[in-house]
Subunit: 415 residues, 2 copies
Amino acid sequence: MSILTDMGKRAKEAAVTLSIMPTLRKNDMLHHAANALLAEQDAVLAANIEDVQAAKQAGIKGAFIDRLTLNEERIAQMADALRQVAALPDPVGQVLSMQTLDNGLMVGKKRVPMGVIGIIFEARPNVTADAFGLCLKAGSAVILRGGKEARNTNKAVVDIFRKALEEKGFLADCVQMVLDSSRETANEMMRLNGYLDVLIPRGGAGLIQSVVQNSTVPVIQTGVGNCHIYVDESADLDMAVRIVCNAKTQRPGVCNACESLLIHESLQDTFLPKVMQVLQEKHVEVRGDAAICQKVAGAVAASDEDWATEYTDLILSARIVKDLDEAIAHIRKYSTGHSEAIVTENYTNAQRFLNEVDAAAVYVNASTRFTDGGAFGFGAEIGISTQKLHARGPMGLTELTTTKYIIYGSGQIRE
Amino acid sequence: MSILTDMGKRAKEAAVTLSIMPTLRKNDMLHHAANALLAEQDAVLAANIEDVQAAKQAGIKGAFIDRLTLNEERIAQMADALRQVAALPDPVGQVLSMQTLDNGLMVGKKRVPMGVIGIIFEARPNVTADAFGLCLKAGSAVILRGGKEARNTNKAVVDIFRKALEEKGFLADCVQMVLDSSRETANEMMRLNGYLDVLIPRGGAGLIQSVVQNSTVPVIQTGVGNCHIYVDESADLDMAVRIVCNAKTQRPGVCNACESLLIHESLQDTFLPKVMQVLQEKHVEVRGDAAICQKVAGAVAASDEDWATEYTDLILSARIVKDLDEAIAHIRKYSTGHSEAIVTENYTNAQRFLNEVDAAAVYVNASTRFTDGGAFGFGAEIGISTQKLHARGPMGLTELTTTKYIIYGSGQIRE
């Protein structure tokens, strides 16, 4: 039996015990895990220093190192996140509907745990704690595979959780970490049908594509956001400037940031200079079509690749369109189905945009930056689904569960 | 551009038009398609005769030929099915929730069409009409790939629908049929990411496994049912006999038929002879464990493979278990997650079975044969999902849709 099959088997056994675990015990467990993480943070910080030093020696650069690095404050945030999950309502056991058929059968649809969830992620060690907490509360065991650069940190965190689980009478295998970072092991995890009920990749486009291409386990595709804002002829121009600047610059590295701006042709001498002035103050590089390049000093010509790119940086592609139809057609061609917005005062155009643009979240007169579990009031989030199956948009606890039909009979047979 | 990429592109264009099509026009279209099918049934029947003769010449046997064969009555049923879909409520456009956040954003969750649905099926030509009707009503374009034995029949049916679509101002590409039956084409269809939003295989275990193993498009796994009935110590024995016989013999070839019987050890001299007498009258072959083989004349020893087999035939595996725990453990090991039942008068055992058995449908005191869209009141069904993602159990119109978040703002930006 391979290491992964063995992990899968043990996860399934843990999942059985978790599936019928009362909410109060799960909540108590989450608080205990938070306490244990704080109490034993020295071990985590020591492991993290090893990882960070090794990464620096390997020549890895700034933002990656920042994501990899833990400190007391970040560990406190990880513990807090576990307590926040404990405070959320438990979706498991909710009966979504119950009807009595003509033959007297009572057919109910009940929310139940997924079983075993696999999560493949990159270098952020906080995902280890988040994923453990959300999966435990949702009644599922989890098999994690973190980036190799965070190996020591992840192992230290998971060891603390596994010990904490046992201290509270849970099976340690409610959480397991795949420490082998070989491609073979990753591929085996993606093909662990019969053990893994779902696989969620969290990370960059490369990781997500690799999982989508290689996985035979059902996948929830998360994250890439080439988000557009279309500023319509009738837009409130000051509002449009505020929304575009917020969506582009408030946190440019995230998936719900704006990457592409479409402007109605009537606004070339009004809105365009206004928004460009503010964007340039924020050091945003603009890549535009011919009309933009002609009007905007410093703008460079956008290639076809630019229209399709999620920069996650202070870069914006921009195009003049002749009307809403052209804007929608452009979005249809280049959208990754994450978040798309229109700024308009025209009622029909607002409704048409909401109806005709196919994305997880479509906005009228608001920044795309709101697409996340926290902002939508889900309390926690395991990622943002950009696929249409199972979950679309921010995924909270509910999206980590499935349903089953429960049928109460009194001897009914099929005629 | 390959044939399939071209079909995918045309399907996406058709899907855009369908996604905003009013319900009344979709219903009118379904009635028109039903009328066209009846009016032009001679062409379908002629094509079907070709297919049936070719299949017979290729040495194909009875049940397959029966499934392949159409006649006036079956065409009338196909037309009726389209009218029934027209009569169902339209799930598209339903707003599942709408809440106002503290910042004034109104966030709604709206049911929307999936986009483009792929369906790969075997030799039943009626699937062509069912799938077309359900997908159209659910607002999605569909690309079908039927079994090669039904090629002429499927082409004739789809040609009628495509002509009917155009007559009503719909794009013909709302339905397309892949006529090339090569493995390469099947594999290309399974990897048509970016065009297909979901792929649903309908057919035997081999087809389903092939799709699960090879597809990079999200798949909904349907169908295989190794369904168990556990007869508990406290069961009403006459009721148990009725339920077991119904679940095994009323229609043995379907996925919700019972394949395996688990009997509490205290019932070896009471229920066991009773049920075996009735099963043998119905010509059911029994494959049992040692205890069963000792008590039941004609029973043969079950292999480990038997416990895992969906016979879809008048064969039943049977085992004596010492208690509910052993029954649940057996089901956990061999279940395909379709439908599982307990017959009991014990309240706690009934509730434990419902909670602890992990399947799409779990029953107390009723036949497993009720797991289908018709019996559950969905009015139509595209298959029965045995996976946990997106849909579980019978899938009706609703399960062919997805959701999106629609957000009404008034200038909100993220702080």
